[in-house]
């Protein structure tokens, strides 16, 4: 049996969904995108073009919930389905779009540049616990206008795993789409075996901005998966009651699924988010708050009740350095996400709310993820009888370590962490230099990076990616992209 946590009663789930539908009629959803308003109007929704508010009847939404896929796969560059969006599959990728990197030498935050993100992508490739890449940081050495496509360009040069990404503008989405098409050969191939998901973020409460709405529609038309990132801020931009925040999340996601399916029936779309329980002392958006985790788990349960693939930003910390708070907050969110059965959990490596990425935190989080994956794999009956045969054979001898039975099962039954986690004796720990978690994480980063194997893509394809990205860069005053770091 797979351990599974349900945080809401069935009755509460039903009421949250019912109220979500009601919000779509009153007060309706603000949609700052003409194409989406037209799609909604054509489908029979009442649309006020002046206020840009759509009043969406339940019947249209119910229709969208019939045509959206309940599951789909992401593929790696070898064409293998490696990420399953659907059911209770649980997978992990790094937190995305950090604006700073925690410097490995100074332990201070600074703006990341090309070299930092390339190192990060390589590291993610080598971390077995991570299932996907993300466009995890925004490089400060290129114009802001190409920040989104540039990080995808870099990742595509070094990755094999699929990637969670997103666009910051309407026009750059097309450049990003072109690069993805170049990677797999054709638009059809990309639709058949997607290698990327685009995050699309409604603004709380109940608003679809022009940019994010257009990104979602464009993704749908090319059958590229999009991932709804609804972010109610309980007590600030959403009701402070956790159930109330989930109602708002439900309404925003239902409207997103509807617009997506009106643009293209059957386009893959994910029920996701990045909510927070507002901090009433500091006025911040804590990712390490138990209330945040509870909203995430609750909306995941709602999404599953509606048959949707799910996503959440969890497993992050609000700490500014890699310390005890950092570990405890990341553990809590990660374990809760796993137990809730979130299909894609984004957050590894992320700290200082959602602003800073750290290589060291990433490899520590990988151990938390390893433990979380072990947890949800559950306890199975490996033998039948479970223990009688073996225990009778050994009698009262404590000789289990020498049994073939132990050799056969230990690696499946026990999660064995890397040296990031210290389980040696006191003397052993001292002999290895009495290292802190941070220092052991630094060692692990170096060890993993040494095992990175270059991406198999051809020089010709690299050239094509470079041309596409350079053409976009030139529109914003950058004639040549920064050179890729030499190995």
């Amino acid at each position: 049996m797979r351990p599974k946590m349900n945080i809401l009663s069935e009755e509460l789930v039903d009421q949250i969904i019912a109220e979500g539908f009601e919000l779509l009629m009153d007060p309706g959803v603000r949609v700052h995108n003409e194409e989406a308003l037209r799609l909604l109007a054509d489908a029979g929704a009442r649309v006020d073009m002046e206020t840009q508010i759509a009043y969406i009847p339940e019947s249209i939404v119910r229709q969208a919930l019939k045509t959206r896929p309940s599951e789909f796969y992401l593929y790696n560059l070898d064409g293998d389905p490696v990420v399953h969006y659907g059911g209770d599959s649980v997978q992990f990728d790094p937190g995305s779009a950090a604006i700073t990197i925690l410097d490995s030498e100074t332990q201070e935050q600074r703006k990341p540049v090309t070299e930092d993100f390339v190192k990060f992508v390589k590291l993610v490739e080598t971390i077995p616990q991570l299932d996907a890449q993300s466009t995890a940081m925004i490089c400060a050495d290129v114009p802001e206008e190409i920040g989104d496509l540039y990080r995808l360009y870099l990742a595509l040069n070094y990755m094999r795993k699929p990637i969670i990404t997103g666009a910051f503008r309407k026009d750059t989405w097309w450049t990003m789409k072109d690069m993805l098409v170049a990677m797999v050969g054709s638009e059809e191939a990309l639709a058949a075996k997607p290698i990327a998901v685009f995050d699309v973020c409604p603004s709380p409460p109940l608003l679809w901005s022009d940019l994010t709405c257009q990104n979602m529609i464009d993704c749908a038309r090319y059958r590229i998966p999009s991932e709804l990132v609804s972010m109610p801020l309980a007590g600030a931009t959403a009701p402070v009651t956790l159930a109330g925040a989930v109602v708002q999340h439900t309404a925003e996601c239902l409207s997103g699924v509807t617009i997506c399916q009106l643009a293209q029936e059957g386009a893959p779309i994910v029920w996701g988010g990045s909510p927070a329980a507002f901090d009433m002392r500091e006025g911040t958006t804590p990712m390490g708050a138990v209330g945040t985790w509870m909203i995430d788990c609750a909306y995941t349960q709602v999404g599953k009740a509606l048959g949707m693939p799910t996503h959440a930003y969890l497993g992050m910390s609000d700490a500014k350095i890699v310390d005890a708070q950092c570990g405890l907050e990341s553990s809590g969110g990660t374990l809760m996400a796993a137990l809730a059965g979130v299909n894609m959990v984004s957050g590894a490596g992320m700290m200082d709310f959602e602003s800073c990425q750290s290589y060291e935190k990433l490899v520590i989080d990988a151990e938390i993820i390893g433990m979380a994956k072990r947890l949800v794999a559950g306890i199975e009956r490996r033998d039948d009888p479970i223990a009688l045969t073996l225990m009778r054979k050994l009698g009262h001898r404590a000789d289990y370590l020498a049994q073939p039975h132990t050799l056969k099962w230990f690696n499946k039954e026990l999660y064995i962490p890397s040296a990031v986690i210290d389980r040696g004796s006191m003397e052993g720990w001292k002999r290895k230099g009495a290292k802190t978690t941070w220092e052991r994480a630094q060692d692990r980063v170096a060890e993993l990076l040494a095992t990175y194997e270059p991406s198999p893509i051809s020089g010709e394809l690299r050239g094509e990616l470079h041309d596409i990205a350079t053409t976009a860069a030139r529109k914003f005053g950058m004639d040549e992209l920064p050179p890729l770091p030499q190995d």
Partner: protein, 214 residues
């Protein structure tokens, strides 16, 4: 044919298949392969690979113990053959090991004993709750180079001191190196009671033993 058997023995040790090790060793004996060749070119290279894989983190304790068990079972087959030829395996040394009187903890001591055997020591494992006079008698009987004393409790670690005193009384203290281990034990305690060495894990114990007999 012979090469294939020897390679098979090595592989069976590395892959943790003691039954196969025993079977192939028997076949090699029947094929008139010299016992020392079986050991030096079949079993030992396998143990070396296992040791290296353990050190690098690829292998874990169960791999180590199972490989050692395969080695030991093969050695039991080979001992009569060696005796018949009046040959002997060159031993790293002779070790007597056990958990001290009043202490019934087995795992740590057995692990060290098994790994010492796998590293070429002749090991006499006396088990748990071993009477002080039994240790002394076995050291005398086997002319042991090393006596390993395990104590997992603060209440039994003092027995380690009593055993060292008993060795002195028997007049054999300077003939044997005493090494101690166990959760409450550390280097400071080793110094206090006049032990010759302390290690905090099995790998450390092997290093220590090799140093002391080297």
């Amino acid at each position: 044919m012979v090469d294939k058997l020897l390679t098979g023995i090595t592989t069976s040790i590395v892959e943790g298949e003691p039954d196969k090790t025993v079977d192939l060793t028997r076949q090699a004996i029947e094929a008139k392969v010299e016992p020392l060749t079986i050991i030096d070119e079949g079993l030992v290279p396998g143990m070396n690979v296992v040791g290296a894989k353990f050190q690098s983190g690829e292998y874990f304790l169960p791999h180590l113990i199972i490989a050692a068990s395969g080695m030991q079972q093969a050695m039991e087959l080979l001992e009569p053959e060696l005796k018949a030829r009046q040959e002997a395996v060159e031993r790293a040394g002779t070790v007597v090991i056990g958990s001290v009187a009043g202490d019934i903890h087995e795992i740590g001591k057995s692990l060290v004993g098994t790994m010492m055997a796998a590293n070429g020591f002749q090991v006499y494992d006396l088990g748990v709750d071993v009477a002080t006079e039994t240790f002394v008698a076995k050291v005398q009987e086997t002319n042991a180079d090393i006596l390993g004393l395990s104590a997992l409790l603060t209440t039994t670690m003092t027995v380690q001191r009593e055993i060292i005193e008993a060795l002195e009384e028997a007049g054999i203290r300077d003939q044997v190196k005493v090494i101690i281990g166990g959760a409450p034990v550390n280097q400071e305690w080793a110094n206090t009671i006049g032990a010759d060495g302390y290690a905090d894990d099995a790998v450390g114990a092997i290093e220590l033993a090799k140093q002391l007999v080297g």
